[in-house]
């Protein structure tokens, strides 16, 4: 039913228009449905809604709804389901998957499939009714051939009377919330350069903030802001410095490596209104596994970046893995948490669970390291973090090429190396959640090692739309997962529930529960304190997306998209052979008591 109204000719169109007018009369657009900066700032007051990708600007993915709680969650059951589309393949991908976070506003749900179609679903009355589907007609082969890690789209944002979304082929699209008609669109990323977009937009002050993917294809990463009224670009901040700019001294090669050095930004960031600061994670340097090609610390790859929201200027950065030879992205969301530290000092933290296996708390006013600890069971690439600087203890700023634990690090003289965590990281894009009452931060963990084979990079190998990785991973080891809780007041692990499979979906926290899923199909509810499993339902598909919760008509629901896609079932499946049985799918599940 793609934009059916606009494409039907003649009498049918007239009839359809009449139907829309009738619909408007029955359900007139309410002022309450216009999304403003005021509402986005105060999203926590709209307890039944899920307005932001990460629930709020602080990216906590915590909902105060508690009709479903640890006493009754055992009675949770399927309320309704809906089959979605977007399973078809394109480029190097045999099928798409679902990684999106649903957005819910006043009983209306907005979800996306991997190719960027947006579905508006009326979730009132204990059932789901599809109101419209906007199919952006994504250029499958153009985009799918340069999407390193799947046919993915992680969801929409709302602004005014528009639904704001991205497409894999690089567009930002504004769709009329009532009609499903595309109001306008703008090409933000360029697949001809290996750039694609998988993340959801972040809306700040009438701007849509867009991140880019493509660090495996020799891109120069950026974060871009588009004015949602003028439809023009407000700023674009490159994550790799240009010649002579601050940070350019950290690219010491003769290859112009910084011009194609990665630094992608494909996970939606957070925003601190108190300081008007956007905090956004930056991905790996490229070529991924040949760090001799790009001597120097390679700023701002593998860093958390703080940007002035009005100008995009970099306020501070914190780099986790300088001159990274492991593909240890720092794209993860930064969770903004205010806690009282060990000495009674109030701390304004940015929390990030890095691909390198360490969880970091950074002072988000200054970018200074507060604490860090491994959240995975096994780390081999470093002996640990320096307690003052948070840098890996082997890091030597005088060296241009870092070896870390030289015995296991991949490099030109050690071409086959087994690393833990594996290159997909201790945590990948699936989001954490933070319970501000319990001060517990829940990390969806990939407990992993894998094997890296280095291939020496030379400038002649750098070609548009071709992999630029300096080698590749393989999967000789079985990979499992966990949900790991960290006490943010102490910076210590508070609990770990091990799971048979890696956590590829992410976490939702409520006052006394944690919801998550497994790529083998299960959606589970855990006790928020003990992590004991209290409820489980097998969806029969692979969970590759985070759960959310909302309420409508006074009733609480939990919603999750199910459809295994992404990087795992193409690149990493040998580490989880049982998951070869999981079929591609595209389905929305909604649960209630």
């Amino acid at each position: 039913m793609t934009n059916k109204v606009s494409y039907l000719p003649g009498r049918a169109a007239l009839l359809a228009t009449a139907a829309v007018i009738t619909a408007f009369t029955l359900f007139p657009a309410r002022a309450a449905d216009t999304v403003t900066q005021e509402r986005l700032l105060n999203s926590e007051k709209e307890t039944g809604n899920w307005l932001h990708h990460h629930k709020n600007y602080s990216a906590t993915r915590f909902s105060s709804l508690k009709e479903i709680n640890k006493d009754n969650v055992k009675n949770l059951k399927v309320a309704w389901t809906m089959h979605l589309g977007g399973v078809e393949g394109g480029g190097i991908w045999s099928h798409g998957g679902l990684e999106g976070t649903p957005i819910v506003e006043n009983g209306m749900m907005y979800v996306t499939d991997g190719w960027g179609s947006v579905y508006k679903i009326d979730a009132r009355g204990g059932k789901g009714t599809l109101l419209w589907k906007m199919d952006p007609k994504t250029d499958h082969d153009w985009a799918g051939a340069v999407a390193c890690c799947g046919v993915d789209n992680r969801g929409v944002a709302l602004w005014g009377d528009l639904v704001i979304s991205h497409t894999l082929d690089g567009r930002l699209i504004a769709t009329n919330k009532e009609t499903g008609q595309v109001a306008w669109q703008r090409q933000v990323a360029d697949p001809d350069k290996g750039e694609v977009i998988t993340g959801a937009p972040l809306i700040v002050k009438n701007m849509a903030i867009t991140g880019v993917a493509g660090a495996e294809y020799g891109i120069r990463g950026w974060i871009a802001a588009t004015d949602l009224t003028s439809q023009k670009e407000v700023w674009r901040t490159f994550t790799l410095p240009g010649k002579g700019e601050p940070g350019s001294e950290t690219w010491k090669d003769d290859n112009k490596a910084a011009a194609s050095g990665g630094g992608s930004t494909w996970v939606t960031g957070s925003y601190d209104p108190a300081t008007d600061t956007i905090i956004w994670g930056v991905g790996n340097p490229g070529p991924d596994w040949d760090n001799q090609y790009r001597p120097g610390d390679n700023l701002y790859t593998d860093s958390s970046l703080a940007l002035d929201s009005s100008t995009g200027k970099i306020k501070w950065h914190y780099q986790h893995t300088p001159n990274d030879p492991f593909d240890y992205d720092s794209v993860s969301e930064n969770v903004l948490a205010d806690v009282t530290g060990p000495n009674g000092v109030p701390l304004k933290l940015a929390l990030e669970a890095d691909r390198n296996g360490f969880a970091y708390a950074i002072d988000r006013s200054t970018g200074k390291f507060i604490w860090g600890l491994p959240f995975v069971k096994k780390v081999t690439w470093t002996k640990g973090l320096d307690p003052e600087s948070g840098k890996p203890v082997e890091y030597d700023p005088k060296k241009t090429v870092q070896r870390y634990n030289a015995a296991v690090s991949p490099h030109r003289e050690n071409k086959v190396a087994d690393i833990c965590p594996g290159n997909m990281g201790g945590k990948n894009w699936p989001p954490t959640a933070y319970n501000p009452d319990l001060k517990l931060w829940y990390i969806p963990v990939i407990e992993s090692c894998n094997r890296i084979t280095v291939e020496e990079s030379v400038p002649e190998k750098l070609k548009p739309r071709e992999f630029w990785t300096g080698g590749g991973p393989s999967q000789p080891f079985k990979i499992t997962g966990s949900v790991t809780a960290i006490d943010v007041t102490s910076g210590k692990i508070a609990g770990k529930l091990e799971t048979p499979f890696p956590n590829l979906g992410g976490i939702l926290a409520t006052p006394d529960l944690v919801f998550t899923g497994q790529p083998s199909g299960e959606v589970t509810a855990l006790d928020g304190k003990s992590l004991q499993k209290l409820w489980e339902f097998n969806t029969g598909g692979g969970v590759n997306a985070p759960p959310i919760t909302f309420s409508v008509d006074g009733k609480q629901y939990v919603a999750i998209l199910v459809g295994l896609g992404g990087a795992w079932d193409k690149w990493f499946i040998d580490s989880t052979p049982e998951l070869k049985n999981i079929q591609p799918g595209s389905m929305l599940y909604v649960f209630s008591l």
Partner: protein
Amino acid sequence: MTILQTRAFAAAIALTLMSTSFASGQSAASSDPTEGGKAVFKRANCVGCHKWHGNGGGGYGGDALSLRKTELTRDQIIETVACGRPSTGMPFFVRGAYESSTCFGMTRADVGPGMPPEGGTFLRPNDIEAVADYVLAHVKGKGEPNHDECLNFFGNASRVCDVYKAGTQLPANSTSTGSSSK
């Protein structure tokens, strides 16, 4: 006929006309005896690792060999597609490989943990011959992929080939200013 049926019928006619005119403009392509092999190349997801141009290359998963630089003969290509390559990611595409028929003289027990993965689809012998003939005619021995080859593979409905147009094959980057306000 309902309105929708009428519309579908009209669309079908339009499509037929389009493909007819397209074909007449590309008579060489449509008379190419390896068109069927190209279809197998797509259907069996050879592109998933070897890419449309056959150059393969390292990347996130393994390192698919270049079919452009391959020295395999027709018979060897046929055997590799049928049987895969033990201890690599190259799948086998014949039902019963290493079981009802041996591959490289080996059974499943002989191959052991080096058993190649099973292809996403099984191919009949004539499909495998067709894809081998396609590779020989259009991939093996070719230099860098170009715009015409790309159009021949994808047709003209996607922007996937634009990057091969003359003048656009520059390194995909620039070193302009780091933060720009517009």
